[in-house]
């Protein structure tokens, strides 16, 4: 026999709790859906939230800029103490190195003079490097996902996107976002970083690729296949127009690997102060220069002396009708 009698009513407190749990589950589901929609938006338009990100950077970068000052000071004191203990042996090594360097310098000076004369004869035109700003690396992500750093300089100091960031020891990365007082730098070690480089000794070109680890990989090598040696210096090639040529990226530490491993020359997290330079050869702006307002002139009209079609902003052709306002 089935029992068709009405089930006992749940107490109010239990009902309330169950309803709250249901609402909470629905809200959680909605929140997760919102997150996935945001990700899809980011896929469609990678610049989604760039303004908010820049504003958040503007808030956090000055905080870390102030907070890390005493930390830097303490690290410097510890460094001085360490230097004191190794001073004598280091002085001997440096004296020997200085002798060798002086000999090389004399040769290099003569070669530089000769090169300058040749460039003058050939009328070579070279863009020059220009420093936009010198700033401190205020904060950096040390987690595993992305390797970016924040500079305490932004649009107000002339720092924009896609500018090379160079430390005292070598290349650090390039700017990818800029707020008014801060900028985000994509470090060389980030998995998305690719820098056109050449092996200084052989002239072989390639790409220095980050992989989220402290070292880089030398990939996509082109040119004569000269075996690499441990200690080969890897410098920027200047291809791509962002990084100036000749900036030290690192040295080869594992030349035998299929993808040779490069040790970074400059540690971005110990760099503290870095310079942001103007892009070496900025990519020409291929955005449309403005709509064409003048309609194509028919052949018959041209035969009667009508001017050729032109852009609104173009200089008026002498003797023709006035340009549209």
């Amino acid at each position: 026999m089935l029992d068709w009698s009405q089930s006992p009513r749940r107490p109010t407190a239990v009902r309330r709790q169950q309803n709250l749990a249901l609402v909470s589950a629905v809200i959680t589901g909605g929140v997760v859906m919102a997150g996935l929609i945001l990700l899809l938006l980011a896929r469609v338009n990678p610049q989604t939230g760039a303004g908010v990100r820049a504003a958040a950077g503007d808030v956090v970068a000055p905080i870390w800029d102030v907070v890390r000052a005493p930390i830097d000071g303490s690290a410097r004191v510890v460094g001085h103490i360490g230097d004191y203990f190794g001073a004598v042996s280091r002085a001997d090594a440096l004296a020997a190195e200085l002798d060798k360097a002086n000999a090389r310098l004399r040769t290099a000076r003569a070669q530089a003079r000769e090169l300058a004369q040749l460039k003058q004869l050939m009328a070579v035109r070279e863009p020059s490097r220009q420093v936009v700003a010198t700033a401190r690396i205020a904060a950096a992500t040390s987690g595993g996902v992305v390797r970016t750093a924040m500079l305490a300089a932004g649009l107000a100091q002339g720092v924009t996107r896609d500018l090379p960031v160079i430390g005292a020891d070598g290349l650090i990365g390039r700017t990818i976002e800029a707020g008014s007082q801060s900028a985000r730098v994509l470090l060389l070690t980030d998995a998305q970083s690719r820098v056109p480089v050449v092996v200084e000794r052989t002239g072989q070109a390639g790409l220095a690729a980050g992989e989220g680890l402290p070292s880089l990989l030398l990939i996509d090598r082109i040119g004569p296949e000269v075996p690499l040696l441990a200690g080969d210096r890897i410098v920027t090639s200047g291809d791509g127009g962002v990084f100036p040529p000749g900036v030290l990226v690192g040295v080869v530490i594992d030349p035998a690997a299929a993808k040779p491993v490069i040790r970074l020359a400059a540690n971005p997290l110990g760099a503290s102060y870095v310079t942001v330079e103007r892009a070496w050869l900025p990519i020409p702006d291929d955005a449309p220069q403005g709509p064409v307002f003048d309609a194509p002139v028919p052949v018959e009209a041209r035969r009667r002396g009508a001017p050729p079609p032109r852009l609104r902003d173009a200089a008026p052709v002498p003797g023709s009708a006035a340009v549209l306002p």
Binding site: I27, T28, G35, L36, A56, A138, A139, G144
Partner: protein, 186 residues
């Protein structure tokens, strides 16, 4: 408890209402602490490997365990979105993961009532590993696929740091409970 329940609003005296308004900040302590942990993760540490623990996620998980009402998945989503903004990730990666992680802990609370500290530690470690592994597909969904291997350093350091962070959150909760305003009802 971060603050004891106040008397009904209509029955409050002006002094009580003022005390109640001045004590409202206590409810925001978990979120503020998690936001602080996100900023702490930006410390430019000269680490040889990407080993900064995922303090923000652990903070969210700790507060979901200690004060579930003060760290609902919506607030976890907000903390995650802040992390996305500050870490330069596509908006939604950490936001989604933090919200799902907070929901998972709530589910765990329903399934296993009396858990030991070790079970908590094991569960949180698994959750952090799952979140880390899920980061790759989510980034790929946003059009930025990244290798997962370097992130395992972060999982390892997060597992080690969990007891310390939980202890810090418990200490914060105790401090807040000690200084909570007392209400004389009725």
């Amino acid at each position: 408890m971060i603050a004891s329940p106040p008397p009904p609003a209509l029955l409050m005296t002006p002094v009580e209402r003022r005390r109640w308004l001045l004590s409202l900040w206590r409810y925001a302590v978990p979120v503020i602490m998690c936001a602080g942990l996100v900023i702490l993760m930006l410390a430019p540490l000269p680490l040889p490997v990407p080993a900064m623990p995922n303090l923000a996620l652990m903070g969210v998980l700790a507060w979901v365990m200690l004060q579930p009402a003060l760290m609902p998945p919506v607030l976890a989503f907000v903390v995650g979105a802040l992390a996305d903004l500050l870490f330069g990730l596509p908006l939604g990666v950490n936001a989604t993961l933090f919200a799902v992680a907070a929901g998972s802990i709530r589910l765990l609370d329903l399934l296993i009532v009396d858990r030991s500290h070790l079970v908590d530690w094991f569960g949180v470690s698994l959750l952090i590993l799952a979140c880390t592994l899920a980061t790759g597909p989510l980034l790929a969904l946003a059009g930025r696929p990244l290798p997962v291997l370097p992130m395992l350093w972060q999982v390892l350091t997060s597992m080690i740091a969990w007891p310390l962070l939980l202890r810090a959150c418990v200490a914060m909760q105790r401090r807040l409970a000690r200084s909570a305003p007392r209400w004389s009802h009725g």
